[in-house]
Symmetry: C2
Subunit: 149 residues, 2 copies
């Protein structure tokens, strides 16, 4: 969906007008997906390799991360709308609330995605399993949570 476009049944409120906390982009994610239309609906463990580039001040934080690890990547969906309250997904008949959907369009467009580390080195983590657009700003990398939680 392009910015400004809205489907029948969708409801937009105001975009957030507050800055309660500030995010620092700590790197960028390089993927083969040049536009949102090129992105798969969901990442796949056998998808193409993607390069999670970490900027110099944060690289020491990669210590201990190794090939084979399962990680949770947190990134900022910079192309998303922040004002939608009800949305009509492609495969749904009725509008659903933004908090009942994993749509990128949400008041704080933060994505969480699980991926497997292929290689770590040179200020970057190479992974498989992402579905985001090339150049997406990186917010965080964490080990996958353990257990059902």
């Amino acid at each position: 969906m392009k910015r400004g476009e809205i489907r029948p049944g969708e409801v937009a409120g105001a975009a957030p007008d507050r800055a309660d906390a500030a995010l620092a982009f700590i790197g960028r994610i390089r993927t083969p997906f040049a536009t949102r239309e090129d992105c798969p609906r969901q990442g796949s463990p056998d998808g193409p390799v993607c390069r999670v580039e970490v900027d110099a001040p944060w690289r020491t934080g990669l210590t201990g991360l190794a090939a084979g690890a399962r990680v949770e990547l947190i990134y900022w969906m910079h192309l998303a709308r922040r004002d939608l309250l009800l949305q009509v997904p492609r495969d749904a008949r009725a509008p659903l609330g933004t908090f009942a959907l994993r749509s990128p369009n949400r008041p704080n467009p933060i994505a969480t995605s699980l991926a497997t580390v292929v290689e770590v080195g040179d200020g970057a983590v190479v992974v498989r399993g992402l579905d985001c657009v090339d150049g997406t700003p990186l917010l965080d990398i964490k080990p996958e949570r353990r257990g059902s939680q």
Copy 2:
């Protein structure tokens, strides 16, 4: 760990000095844990009920969310340090990089947590399975992702 305290082997860089994007707190999470010391190490599906309060402008976004749903809650760990690059967890012998740990202390202190919805209504989602401190700022609610991704 209190602010300003650092364990042997830990390394702090500069806290982020950039504001690349602004977050809006869309509500607060009410838990029985008054301080960080009171919080369990990890939430449990049979833990106490917690109340995820959503502020008025965003409540329409709850449409379609119902009891029994598994949700991913995203929140801001407002008490965390943002400058640690290497950390020594309580149960570890050697320092590990922040990105190899799920510690709250990280450049962008965003938490993701899975929980089960007990009840939705009155501008709040009641859940079980959280481990955060009372008053934690809420950033987002999404359905749990499907499949291994």
